[in-house]
């Protein structure tokens, strides 16, 4: 008689209890998956930051603008390979609630600076050729059902167009992300078209992205950039992309930490409840285990029997839970695209979840299993009645 058959019979004996326990474990791991996705969504910018890129912004805050004329000056600084400017456009499509990031950029240097933005060559040509062309990320395109050739009108509360007409864009390209966590919810269009059309404050941009030259040192370049503009009306603060992203995570502050702490507490509470049930169900079977031992089951087999049962429940429950989250996030992406554009479960967290499930199985099985091993056959059989 195979071990698995015995385990299966045990699980079947109280079908309902097995099913309910399995479901609790599944729910716990769904929660675990969502927790990981949420955490990743908060910190994706940090983990995906390019170590060779810097961000230069106005020293007072990101809101203060910088002149577009800084680009050649930054590029002359030793250790800087290239620089691009970015501008916060705050484009509104139909309703302010449809929020997404939109930025005027210089197409060629921009694409060179951010190789994680994958744009087919012919679409890049089209963008360079068309002044009001826009390149849009895959998730954003899917969100609004746009396709290449569509005309998209955007209003910007910051940047009214001359004559107060909406800005008209034509989608000429759709980009994908080079990595799994790359934000593909951006809307990029040409700076020349934007600068010509804006009603006021021509020639200013929001921040700069800088790529440092091979062998140059990040801290030194950042310092050199800030020194270049010290004591000017537009003083700068330059920091590595990762530190910049980390700064935003810190701004969310306690709330992010508290949400994650609460979710973790929930996860462990559910595991505790499920684990208790599983341990209970082994304890109730003292008599049967005595019978098994009486008919010649070795201690090792009894140990294996109990452990396999708890691991099977935990493993199946855990895998179903993780699979549910993975399928959902892969198929639907973020449930709140305007707040968390990036939403997926990283592979390392899937692995972490799987090992947690295994650990749960072992932890809930090991005590009752050892009890079962220590059990004297005569005691067990007597206790049954």
């Amino acid at each position: 008689m195979s071990l698995l058959f015995l385990v299966w019979s045990h699980l079947k004996r109280k079908k309902l209890r097995s099913a309910l326990t399995l479901l609790s474990i599944t729910v716990a791991f769904v929660l675990f998956g969502l927790l990981c996705a949420l955490k990743e969504a908060f910190t994706a910018g940090v983990s995906l930051a390019d170590a060779d890129r810097l961000i230069t912004r106005h020293k007072i805050s990101l809101i203060q603008p910088l002149p577009v004329s800084y680009r050649p000056r930054i590029e002359r600084i030793p250790g800087v390979a290239s620089a691009v400017h970015m501008t916060w456009f705050n484009g509104i499509y139909q309703d302010p609630k449809n929020f997404f990031g939109s930025f005027p950029v210089d197409p060629a240097p921009f694409l060179e600076m951010y190789p994680e933005i994958l744009l087919p060559a012919d679409q890049k040509e089209a963008w360079l050729a068309q002044r009001n062309g826009a390149v849009v990320g895959r998730t954003l395109v899917n969100r609004f059902g746009w396709k290449i050739g569509d005309r998209v009108p955007l209003m910007s509360p910051i940047w009214p167009r001359q004559g107060d007409a909406p800005w008209e864009f034509e989608i000429v390209g759709i980009y994908d992300g080079a990595k799994k966590g790359t934000d593909t919810s951006g809307f990029y269009f040409r700076y020349d078209y934007f600068d010509e059309g804006r009603a006021r404050d021509k020639g200013i941009v929001s921040w700069y992205g800088i790529r440092i030259a091979r062998g140059a040192r990040v801290e030194e370049v950042a310092k050199a950039v800030d020194e270049e503009f010290a004591n000017s009306p537009y003083e700068t603060k330059t920091e590595p992309e990762g530190a910049f992203a980390q700064g935003f995570v810190q701004q969310v502050g306690d709330i992010g930490t508290i949400l994650i702490a609460i979710l973790s507490a929930v996860f462990f509470t559910i595991l505790l409840v499920a684990g208790n049930t599983m341990a209970q169900s082994v304890r109730e079977r003292t008599g049967e285990i005595g019978v098994l031992k009486a008919v010649g089951f070795t201690n090792a087999r009894v140990l294996g029997l109990v452990l396999v049962e708890s691991c099977l429940l935990a493993g199946i429950g855990g895998l179903i839970g993780l699979a549910l989250v993975w399928t959902y996030t892969t198929a639907h992406g973020s449930p709140v695209p305007s707040i968390l554009p990036v939403f997926y479960v990283p592979t390392r967290d899937l692995l972490r979840g799987a090992s947690l499930a295994a650990a749960l199985g072992l932890a809930t099985g090991i005590l009752p299993a050892l009890q079962a091993v220590r059990l004297r056959v005569a005691d067990a059989l007597r206790r049954q009645s």
Binding site: L20, S24, S61, P157, N231, T269, I270, P335
Partner: protein
């Protein structure tokens, strides 16, 4: 009827007396439900506190004027002429000192957060003399108000707590200008507590915004005067502005974060409720299974099936309510009044606020516990009632 009730009562009491024998499972179920309630209350108290901080300042007889098309102060811009026309519009309350209107400038500066030392986006507001009487709830709690024309700032108490280096008497260098902190203000926990204030006329040149404002806040003669005020502005061909009631404006500015946190809270609580429900079902099914013989005996003695159903249901409800109440109290102790600060993406700046566990929140949470308990008890109860009596008596 009376007999029926006394049957229910005696069976329920009998059941409850056996709970200590099933401690482990009963505690597990109650803990699960307590967990649901704690989580629900905890997460929603964040949203509640955030919304309260944003809306406590909203007064029905105060209005804010922005450039038409702007959705926040940051994206708005008004000239000196426009500001003057707004202050003179009908409906604006007046004092011997002039109209109760404050033209304001709103910039964001980076200052180090006390907890991490990293940059926080802090709102820095240039205001006019009327700013305090217009708002009505701003009070100096330490030091004094800034003097017009000088580089002095007063700090909201929430920001003073969140950001390092804002003690009264300290000087702060922002850009190339040196400012002195001269006072701390409170505003019943509202938005002004998260801001730095100075004289608008001083802030303008410091930020190269001569003759430029972003909003005008006005106190109206009465809440009813709003329509008249709004019509006067929108029909004036010299103005391209929009007027919003302060309460609506702040509610809108908190909508994104509030609905996000509520969404997370409810989604998590739903999942957790499922988990807890499975736990409760497990507990009650085992309870019924363990008492098969007792139940069969009761039925054989002439107890009806509905007292048995109700007694199991009541037992589950009692466990759930105990767990729910414990969870609600724990959440209240842990979260109510907890001081936090987070970034409000709609204003792109930090808001300091206190978590709030409100009575409706507690009631809502205990209602959840009751529903979980009811469902967790119902199915086992029905099974208990359907037990064949003869087989149940033979059960070992």
């Amino acid at each position: 009827m009376l007999n029926w009730l006394s049957q229910i009562l005696s069976v329920t009491l009998f059941n409850l007396r056996t709970v200590p024998q099933r401690k482990g499972a009963a505690i597990a179920a109650a803990v699960g439900i307590a967990g649901v309630v704690t989580v629900l209350v905890g997460v929603l108290s964040i949203a509640e506190g955030f919304r309260a901080a944003m809306t406590v300042s909203g007064s029905p007889d105060v209005a804010i004027v922005l450039r038409s098309g702007a959705d926040s102060e940051m994206t708005s811009g008004l000239s000196r002429d426009e500001v003057r026309l707004v202050a003179q519009a009908p409906g604006v309350a007046r004092t011997p000192d002039g109209p109760l209107a404050s033209a304001e400038l709103f910039v964001i500066i980076n200052l180090p957060k006390r907890s991490t030392g990293t940059d926080a986006n802090v709102p820095f507001r240039g205001v006019e003399k009327a700013a305090v009487p217009v708002r009505g709830d701003v009070q100096i709690i330490e030091g004094r108000m800034f003097e017009p024309g000088r580089n002095e700032i007063v700090v909201g108490s929430g920001m003073a707590r969140t950001v390092a280096g804002l003690e009264v008497g300290r000087s702060v260098r922002i850009g190339q200008v040196e400012w002195t902190v001269v006072g701390v203000v409170s505003a019943r926990g509202g938005v002004a507590e998260s801001e730095l204030w100075t004289d608008a006329a001083v802030l303008q040149p410091a930020y190269h915004r001569e003759d430029n404002y972003q909003s005008v806040m006005v106190r109206l003669t009465s809440p009813k005067a709003f329509d008249e005020f709004k019509d006067a502005l929108t029909t004036n061909p010299q103005l391209k502005v929009k007027a919003v009631r302060q309460a609506d404006f702040y509610a809108e500015q908190s909508s994104m974060l509030t609905s996000f946190i509520r969404g997370v809270g409810v989604a998590v609580a739903l999942l957790m409720a499922l988990g807890a429900m499975f736990g409760a079902l497990n507990t009650m099914y085992s309870a019924v299974a363990a008492r098969t013989r007792e139940i069969a005996t009761l039925r054989a003695l002439g107890f009806g099936s509905s007292p048995v159903i109700l007694s199991v249901l009541l037992e589950s409800l009692v466990l759930a309510l105990l767990g729910g109440t414990a969870g609600a109290l724990a959440a209240y102790a842990a979260f109510d009044g907890y001081q936090a600060a987070t970034i409000n993406w709609q204003t792109f700046s930090q808001l300091a606020f206190a978590f709030r566990v409100t009575p409706p929140l507690l009631a809502q949470a205990i209602a959840w516990a009751a529903v979980i308990g009811a469902i967790g008890g119902l199915f086992p109860a029905v099974r208990a009632a359907r037990l064949p009596i003869a087989a149940g008596l033979r059960d070992t």
